[in-house]
Subunit: 479 residues, 2 copies
Amino acid sequence: MPDINELRDVVRGRVLTDPDDMAPFLTDWRRIWTGRALAVVQPDDAEVVAAVVRWCGDHGVAIVPQGGNTGLSGGATPLAVGACIVLSLARMKAIRTVDAVNNTITVEAGCILADVQAAAQDVNRLFPLSLAAEGSCTIGGNLATNAGGTGVLRYGNMRDLCLGLEVVTADGAVWDGLRALRKDNTGYDLRDLFIGSEGTLGVITAAVLKLFPPSVGRCVAVAALECPANALDLLHLAQTHLSGGLTGFELFSDFCLELVLHHREGARRPVEESAPWYVLIEASSATDADLANEAMQSLLEAGFEQGLVIDAALSSSEAQAEALWALREDISEAQGEAGKTIKHDVALPLSQLADFIIESEAALDARFPEVRTGVFGHVGDGNLHFNVLPRDGTPDTIVESLTGPVNKLVHDIVVARGGSISAEHGLGVLRRDESARYKSEVEMAMMRCIKHALDPRGIMNPDKLLAHDVGSLVGQGGK
Amino acid sequence: MPDINELRDVVRGRVLTDPDDMAPFLTDWRRIWTGRALAVVQPDDAEVVAAVVRWCGDHGVAIVPQGGNTGLSGGATPLAVGACIVLSLARMKAIRTVDAVNNTITVEAGCILADVQAAAQDVNRLFPLSLAAEGSCTIGGNLATNAGGTGVLRYGNMRDLCLGLEVVTADGAVWDGLRALRKDNTGYDLRDLFIGSEGTLGVITAAVLKLFPPSVGRCVAVAALECPANALDLLHLAQTHLSGGLTGFELFSDFCLELVLHHREGARRPVEESAPWYVLIEASSATDADLANEAMQSLLEAGFEQGLVIDAALSSSEAQAEALWALREDISEAQGEAGKTIKHDVALPLSQLADFIIESEAALDARFPEVRTGVFGHVGDGNLHFNVLPRDGTPDTIVESLTGPVNKLVHDIVVARGGSISAEHGLGVLRRDESARYKSEVEMAMMRCIKHALDPRGIMNPDKLLAHDVGSLVGQGGK
C-alpha cells in the first residue's frame, strides 16, 4: 500500500485522511453507494491536480474525481474495493474571467452552478443551465455528466454550452483548451470527448461557457391535456408560434400533480377540473414581457381550436410563473415522500414518445400490478423521467425487489424504439452494465479503445461508465 | 503493388481506373492540389464501404474519402505519392427517412446539401446549413469538416445539427450510431469525434440531422458603419432586440462591396454614401413577416440613436432581401476575379475581433505594401474571411511568394489573441503543419493517440489533419 503521506508534499490545498472528515465524500447524497478511499484530496489549482495525478499514476492509485456529489448514477463515489483517492475539485471555485462582449465566462470546475448563474446575471447575461441541484452541483460535474435540465429545449445541454476546457490528462499534464470561440476546426474534438466521460479520461479543471442575453419577461402556462400525443402536437404548435421564445416545455401526469398537491403546502391545482396530463409551457422575451404573454395567448388559442387543450392557466405575474413552475419542479421530491421510486431517465425520438408511454404502462400493469407510473419530464427534448412508484400498500421491500425486472422491461421498450436509457444522468455504476448490454460490440470496442489510449494505466475513475478491465493493475494498490 | 482488380469483386457499385475517369477526383476544384490513386471506388452502401476498407487494410492501401470535392483545404484530394484509393461517397445519396414529428432527417453521406434542404422543405421544415457550395457539396463532407456558413449564428454549425452517425471504422466494421435523440448520455461522444475529423478516423456513411420550423418571413438590412467595433455593439443590440429571430449577421468592408459592384452586373450600393464597413442583418419570423420587419426597424432605430449606424437599407420584399444577401455572397467570387487572393479563415473571441482587424491591417501595411485586405465574414460567430489581395499592379507571382509570410503574420496575431486559424474550413493539408506549430504538445499527443487507437494501421486519409507518422507502413503499397 503506498504511503499516502507522500501526497501531503505534493498537494497545496487539503489532504483528508480522518474517517469522519472523509465520510461525506465516500457516500452519494441519496446514500445508495458507499465506498472507501485512502484519502480525499482537494487541490487549489490545475498544476496541483496534475501533480496528484502523476503521484497516483506512479503508485498505482486510482482517482475518483468529485464535484458537488449530487450525481444520480454513482459516478463520483469510490467503490468498496481497491486503492483510490477521491479528488475533490471543491476548492477550485474561481470565476477566472467574464467576457460580456464575447458572451463567455471562464470558471473553475469547483464553481457551484448557481454561482455561475449569479456571476452571469451581474453583467446582465444569462447562463441557462438550470436543474434541481443547482445550489450545490458544480460545473465540473455538470460537464463530466453532460447535464441537462429544464433549459435544454432552448439553449442545449452542458455540451452545447461549453466552448473550451482545461483538463489534466491521465498522465498528469495540463491541457489548456480554454478556447472562447464559436468556430474552431483545427483537429479532433477533444472537448466533447471529455464532456460526458464521467472523469474516466482525465480531470476537467476549468471551462469556458457560453452566456446569452437575459430574458426581460416570461409567461408560463399550464395546459390540461387528454394524452401525451396531444402534448407533442402542442409542442409543434409552440415551436412555430414562439420560435426562439419557447424556453420550456415540460410534461407531467395527473398522478404527479396529485402527489405535489398532497405533499406541498399551498400548492393549488392550476385548472378547475383534473385532466390526465398537463404540460407546462414557458415563453420568454428579451425585450418585452407583454410580447411573451401575447404569444402564449395566441398559442393557447390555437391549441384550443385544434382540440389539443382542455383548459389552461396563464401566469400574469412573476410570482404566478414561479408557482406554476413549482408544480413541476416539486414532483421529484413529492415522489420521494410517497415511497420508494424506481427511476428511469430515458430519451426517445419525439415520434416514438407517446406510443412508448402507452406500451410501457400497459406492460407494467400486466406484469407488475404492485406498482404504477409517475411520468414527468422534459418532453420538448424527448426526455422522460419515467418513474415507477408503489401502489398504496406495497411495501418498499417489494419495490426494491422489482427494480431490476422493471428496469429491464422499460429499457427494452426504450431501446426497441430507438431511445436512450440515460438521457441526462450518465452511466456511473448505476447504468454501466445495462448500457453495455444494449450497445453494439463495435461501439463498446471503440469506447474501450479510447479509454486505453487516453488512460493506459487505467487510473481515471476505473469501473465507472465502462466495466473494469481485467488487464488493469490499478486500484489494486500497486503496479 | 496490390492487384486493384480484386476490388472489383468486393465492390457493388463502381471502380474507376481509367485515368480520364479518375481525373476529376484527383484534383480539388480550385486546382491547387493534384494527387494519384490506384482507383476511384464508389460503393452503394455502408456494407460495401466496409468491405472496401477491409480490403484496403489487408493490402496496405490508404483510403481518401471524398464527397462533393468542394473543400478548401485539400482534405479530400489524394497525395502525389503512395498507394491509395479515392473512396467516393457520391452514389450513397438516399434520403433514408424524414421524421417531421421528431424534426429529424436521416440521409446518406453522398446526399447533396441542397437536396437535403429541399427534402426538409417538402415536409415544411428547415435544414439550416447554408453555404456557397450547397449545390454540390455533400453531407458527408459537411460532417467531416464540421461545415459552417451563414446559418451558424442561429442554428449552429454541422456538429450542432447532427444527432447521430453511421460510420465504417478503420478496421471495416459498420457502427450504427444513427440515434435521433436530443439527449443521450450513455458513454463517450464518438459522434463528435468523427465529426470534423476529415476522414482520418473512419468513413461517415449516413447521419441523422436536425430540422427546424421554417421561417415564414424575413427582413434583411444592410447598415453602414464607421468601424468593426460598432458592428460588435450592433450585434449585441441585435441579440437583445431580435433574440432567436436573429438569423444572420455578416460584416464586409467597403473594398469588398466595391469589388462586387465592379464585377457583378446589376449590383447596386445599398446606401447613398459609401462607408468604411457594412453589416448585413437578417431577422426572421416563424409566424409573421411583419414582425420581422418591425423588430428590424426598432433595432436600426436603436442603432441610429446610439450612434452606431450611419445609414441603412431595409428589404421590403423577398427580392430585395435576396439582392442585399447577394452583395455579401458574391464577395468571394468578386475577389477571385480581382486577382490572386491569400485566404485566411480565422475565428476570434468577439472581444478581440475589432482590435485584431486594426492590428493585422497595420502590420500588413507596414510589412507588405504590395497587398491590401478584403475582410468579410460571419462576424456574429467571430469568424472572418480575412483575405489579402494584390494592390493594383501587383502581379500574381508576387502575391504567391508572399503567401507564407502573410499567413504567418496574420495567424501569429490570431493565435496571440486566442483565436483559431481554421474556423470552418478544416486543416486538410493546407493548414495541417501550421496548426501543429501553434498547438501545444499535450494536444498534439492526444490527437495522435486517438488516431493510433482508432486507425492503428494508418489507412484512413493519411497525412491529412495530422502529419504522416513515420511508423506507419500504409500508403507505401504494402505491409
